[in-house]
């Protein structure tokens, strides 16, 4: 997985690209989130548009970072879920947990 981090309206947007699976990407995501929190950036959007594959470990990692961000007084939201990722979250009833957007501006605006 490759991550590009940018900022829009005070919100950190992580563009994730590639696989988030047990061998790949899961640790990288956690580390990136940790760094943002340490820098005091607590409004976070994960852009999943370019995530090609996710397994249960990847889903677990989303849940784990969501909890971490919450516990540190921040908020993490999801942007541009692919159909397959949407299915994965739906099946495990996580769509009710995550706030999801298909429009970046809306996602950013939702924090204010």
């Amino acid at each position: 997985m490759k991550t590009t981090i940018r900022t829009a309206g005070g919100v950190a947007i992580l563009d994730l690209k590639g696989k988030i699976t047990i061998g790949e990407g899961d640790v990288a995501l956690r580390e990136n989130i940790e760094k943002l929190l340490e820098e005091g950036k607590k409004q976070i959007v994960l852009n999943l548009a370019k995530v090609s594959y996710m397994d249960s470990s990847g889903v677990g990692e989303l849940v784990g970072t969501y909890t971490t961000v919450n516990n540190r007084g921040g908020k993490m939201k999801l942007l541009n879920l692919t159909e397959k990722i949407q299915d994965l979250l739906q099946i495990t009833q996580l769509l009710t947990v995550f706030e999801c957007f298909s429009d970046e501006e809306e996602a950013v605006a939702s924090f204010s």
């Binding site: 061998g23 889903v59 969501y66 495990t92």
Partner: protein, 145 residues
């Protein structure tokens, strides 16, 4: 295709996550020989990868000297995949449901749940000293036709 199981493949991999892609390729090639649609192949692949993840991590406890054996059998009515590790097994009766409110925010515990969603049958055979065998079954779309 003949009456008996002529299209069977067995793959033994070293206990490493990097080897999973290679088993996926075998599944992809095998499903090209038959009649599953793309969507079905995708989710079947995911179920198999979850079983492989578990075999490597929970079964063989990341020991690189251990192996995972995967067999594919193409029967007239079903495609069956067996994933066998060298671990000590586990109690399949006490698996928590990841969709219960208390478990919703747990970072793990969704693998077997996904397997059951994406396959038509999942049998888990955990035999102490003989490893765990996860048996995944998908009915072929043309079965019975």
């Amino acid at each position: 295709m003949g009456e008996d199981v002529s299209q069977s493949v067995e793959v033994v991999i070293a206990n490493q996550f990097e080897m999973i892609d290679l088993v996926q390729s075998v599944l992809d090639d095998l499903t090209e020989l038959v009649d599953f649609d793309e969507e079905t192949v995708h989710w079947m692949g995911m179920a198999m990868r979850e079983a492989l993840n578990n075999a490597i991590k929970h079964g063989n406890k990341l020991d690189p000297k251990k192996h995972v054996r995967v067999t594919f059998d193409l029967f007239p009515e079903t495609l069956e995949i067996k994933v066998l590790d060298e671990g000590d097994g586990f109690d399949t009766r006490t698996l928590p449901d990841p969709t219960e409110p208390a478990n919703l925010l747990k970072p793990s515990g969704r693998g077997i749940f996904y397997m059951r969603k994406f396959m038509d049958r999942v049998d888990i055979n955990a035999r102490k000293g003989k490893g765990t065998e996860v048996h995944l079954v998908k009915t072929r779309p043309t079965a019975g036709a």
